[in-house]
């Protein structure tokens, strides 16, 4: 699985200015809407998930996996990728502040497992993570993701 294949340029925004965690999630939601993965309602659902359960989506240092559950607002399974101009605190004790928000929408509980495995591989590699944060355009993010994919 090449993550670049899952991320067209419209699914990516780099060095976005966000005042707070809601704005950061909203930016990831906008990219999901722009690619036809979700409707605007899903963005609100991602924000509501954090309001309800806390900032548990910040699952690694600097990284938030914004998502909600499968719902009518999800048109197909997909992801978006937003890096922030300035790191934003989400209230996570272990992993604040956040520099990368990946938005995830899934139509069911299984269809996106390959995407998650690819994402896990990249996030486990700190050098790769730093290189991706430094990428300053959607094209650069896609190039770096493609270069990171294990050779078939």
């Amino acid at each position: 699985m090449d993550l670049a294949e899952q991320l067209p340029e419209t699914a990516i925004a780099t060095h976005v200015a966000a005042d707070d965690w809601r704005a950061a999630i909203r930016a990831a939601g906008e990219r999901l809407v722009a690619t036809g993965v979700t409707t605007d309602a899903y963005t609100d659902e991602m924000i509501a998930a954090v309001e309800e359960h806390g900032p548990y989506i910040v699952i690694a240092p600097g990284f938030a996996l914004a998502h909600s559950r499968p719902s009518p607002a999800v048109q197909r399974t997909g992801i978006s990728w937003v890096t922030l101009a300035e790191p934003v605190p989400f209230g996570s004790k272990a992993n604040d502040p956040v520099s990368l928000v990946v938005g995830l929408a899934a139509t069911d509980h299984d269809g996106h497992l390959e995407i998650m495995a690819a994402l896990a591989g990249i996030l486990a590699d700190d050098d790769a993570f730093q290189a991706l944060l430094a990428a300053d355009s959607p094209t650069a993010v896609r190039e770096r993701l493609a270069a990171l994919s294990p050779a078939a």
């Binding site: 806390g54 989506i57 699952i59 998502h67 559950r69 899934a106 509980h109 994402l119 896990a120």
Partner: protein, 91 residues
């Protein structure tokens, strides 16, 4: 041994956690463990029959009082952290 990885929605963070827990168990040489991903709504039920629950600091209090050992993971992408925290609970 049964392990439940818990997140809010059951599609994102718990799935990552399940994948990395399976890697950790392989590294520990455990081949008879069953790892399941669950959302917080079904986690309490699943945790009743589990030996270990893996989750985040924020969600741990929501799981409440279960017989399973609840282990808080800070970095869900770190197989090293998961391996270290699971080691004392491997029979």
């Amino acid at each position: 041994m049964k392990i439940v990885a818990v997140c809010g929605m059951g599609i994102g963070t718990s799935v990552l956690l399940k994948m990395n827990a399976e890697k950790a168990l392989r590294a520990l040489g455990v081949d008879d463990a069953d790892v399941e991903a669950a959302d917080i709504g079904t986690a309490r039920g699943a945790a009743r029959t589990a030996d270990v629950v893996l989750t985040s600091d924020e969600l741990a209090p929501e799981i409440g009082d279960v017989p399973a050992t609840v282990i808080v993971i800070d970095n869900f992408t770190s197989v090293a952290e998961i391996t270290e925290k699971l080691t004392p609970h491997i029979g």
